[in-house]
């Protein structure tokens, strides 16, 4: 048996989170991710996945890249640097957005939290944090605003799943009922100061807690204890990937890349042309929007396997012997009990229910059903 798993790459200069010793004590299988030594899974990734869907899971996401933008023109800078209307974000709210190149290519997808009138926290993907930091710093020229690298300032712990409000409520006095989805407020959790955000990447209700690294172990242990009675388990990056795939959430490097504009990725709605002033990529993105309207680009769809073989990123999507698209992410879905994938396919084959679509799995054309995304939506 020989593995083709790229996750087994080891780097000599891996970074470790503040929770590294905790992961090792829990017996985690570790993996390199964007230069960080991160937990892949603690036991069975399928059990971790089901725990988040039905109870709760605890994640160390300290590899994510935090960048603080402050100053009188902080909002104006972000409106110029990003494609979203950041000036319109209310205090203590968050917004999903993107940063693009002048040619419209996606540099990263981001969550921006407005912490105060003149203070924002931008959260970038670990693999793109330096790129985003450099772009924001460069784009800040001429603005009365400061871009600060806060990657080492925060550890990030997420508690996700239907039991997560109860677990968090047991260790904080913060008003969680008043905290809406995509909102964040400063508070105290388990005695340590935290930015409490109702965000996540799993398709479930949940919270992301930004704390100082020296408080991370204390917070992790308090949450573990608070979740003991309701089935909270530690969760690794493996189940995070299957959870976000079922929820139809894009992942940078898979569904998003510099070779795609937000319109090519089916996420043109995040581009706000009607905001004040110019922004980086406007001209190219207006052209991309026009192209998308007149000649639809490939469409991001869901594929559900009729058989049991798993489509992987890069596999060709085929119909009638022709290549009509490419798989961007694929995995066995623990919730559906079948392999699923996200794929960009030609518009002619993108309608849910389109028949005759297959995936070329190592030379064999396996039948797949085209479905609308997401694969899974939680009952509210």
């Amino acid at each position: 048996m020989s593995s083709t798993d790229p996750a087994s790459d080891q780097s000599a200069e891996q970074r470790h989170t503040a929770l590294d010793a905790v992961h090792r004590a829990l017996g985690a299988t570790m993996t390199d991710f964007a230069g960080w030594d991160m937990p892949l899974r603690y036991g069975s990734e399928r059990d971790e996945h089901h725990a988040v869907r039905t109870r709760a899971g605890l994640f160390d996401l300290s590899h994510m890249g935090e960048i603080t933008v402050t100053g009188p023109q902080a909002a104006a800078l972000l409106d110029f640097a990003l494609v979203g209307n950041i000036g319109a974000v209310k205090n203590a709210r968050a917004r999903y957005t993107m940063i693009c190149r002048a040619d419209g290519g996606i540099l990263d997808d981001l969550i921006v939290y407005r912490l105060a009138e003149t203070e924002f926290m931008v959260v970038a993907n670990a693999s793109n944090a330096q790129v985003v930091l450099d772009a924001l710093t460069e784009r800040a020229e001429g603005f009365d605003a400061e871009v600060r690298d806060d990657r080492d300032t925060y550890a990030l712990i997420a508690v996700q799943g239907p039991e997560s409000p109860g677990i968090l409520a047991a260790v904080t006095d913060a008003d969680l009922d008043g905290l809406k989805y995509y909102a964040g407020l400063p508070g105290t959790v388990a005695g340590v100061p935290a930015l409490i955000a109702r965000t996540g990447y799993t398709g479930e209700d949940g919270f992301e807690l930004f704390v100082r690294p020296e408080h991370a172990v204390e917070l992790w242990q308090a949450l573990t204890k608070a979740g003991e009675g309701v089935g909270l388990v530690p969760c690794g990056l493996s189940c995070r990937d299957t959870l976000r795939l079922e929820a139809g959430m894009p992942l940078y490097g898979h569904e998003l890349s510099t070779s795609l504009t937000p319109f090519d990725a089916g996420l043109g709605r995040v581009v706000k042309f009607d905001k004040d002033g110019d922004f980086v990529g406007r001209t190219a993105l207006e052209a991309a929007a026009g192209r998308a309207a007149s000649q639809p680009p490939r469409v991001l769809v869901g594929l559900v396997a009729e058989g049991r073989r798993v489509p992987r990123a890069g596999f060709a999507v085929v119909a009638g012997g022709e290549v009509i698209g490419e798989v961007t992410s694929g995995a066995p879905s623990p919730t559906l009990g079948k392999p699923i994938a996200m794929a960009y396919v030609d518009a002619a084959h993108a309608a849910p229910g389109t028949t005759g679509v297959g995936v070329d799995i190592r030379g064999s054309h396996e039948p797949y059903e085209v479905v609308a995304l997401p694969f899974y939506k939680r009952q509210k």
Binding site: M1, S2, S3, T4, D5, A7, T29, L40, R41, S44, E45, R46, S238, D241, T242, R308, R309, V310, R312, A331, P332, P339
Partner: protein, 125 residues
């Protein structure tokens, strides 16, 4: 984890029983099963197929990756484990028992296979 003493092991992490009546049972080791993560699909050779030592004869798919299955010996496939085709999780839960993969009527020598102690040392390194 412990590797049963009575078995022989390949460097590709298959185990096989010492042939009785010329037939060996083949599976993958607990070490390999743990490295794979949850196995969700197995493709095995068919009864009557001829397999060659060191060549691929199937695949094992887990959540994150697909791995090729190599034949640890040459011979003819005489039985495949339908239980593990139906429930691939057996590879993880009982790699040396209910999670066996196939039985092969061996045709060649098994000289280059490792003993349990040698395999344990190999995977520790």
């Amino acid at each position: 984890m412990s590797n049963p003493q009575q078995l022989r092991y390949s460097k590709e992490h298959e185990w096989l029983s010492v042939a009785e009546d010329g037939v060996s049972t083949v599976g993958i080791t607990e070490h390999a099963a743990n490295a794979l993560g949850d196995v969700v699909f197995v493709q095995l050779p068919e009864v009557g197929d001829t397999v060659t030592a060191g060549e691929t004869c199937g695949e094992l798919e887990s959540t994150k990756s697909v791995s090729e299955l190599y034949a640890p010996v040459s011979g003819e496939i005489v039985e495949v484990n339908q239980d593990v085709v139906d429930d691939p999780a057996l590879v993880n839960s009982a790699p040396f028992e209910g999670g066996w993969l196939f039985k092969v009527r061996t045709a060649g020598e098994q000289d280059d296979l490792l003993t349990a102690d040698e395999y344990t040392a190999y995977t520790a390194g």
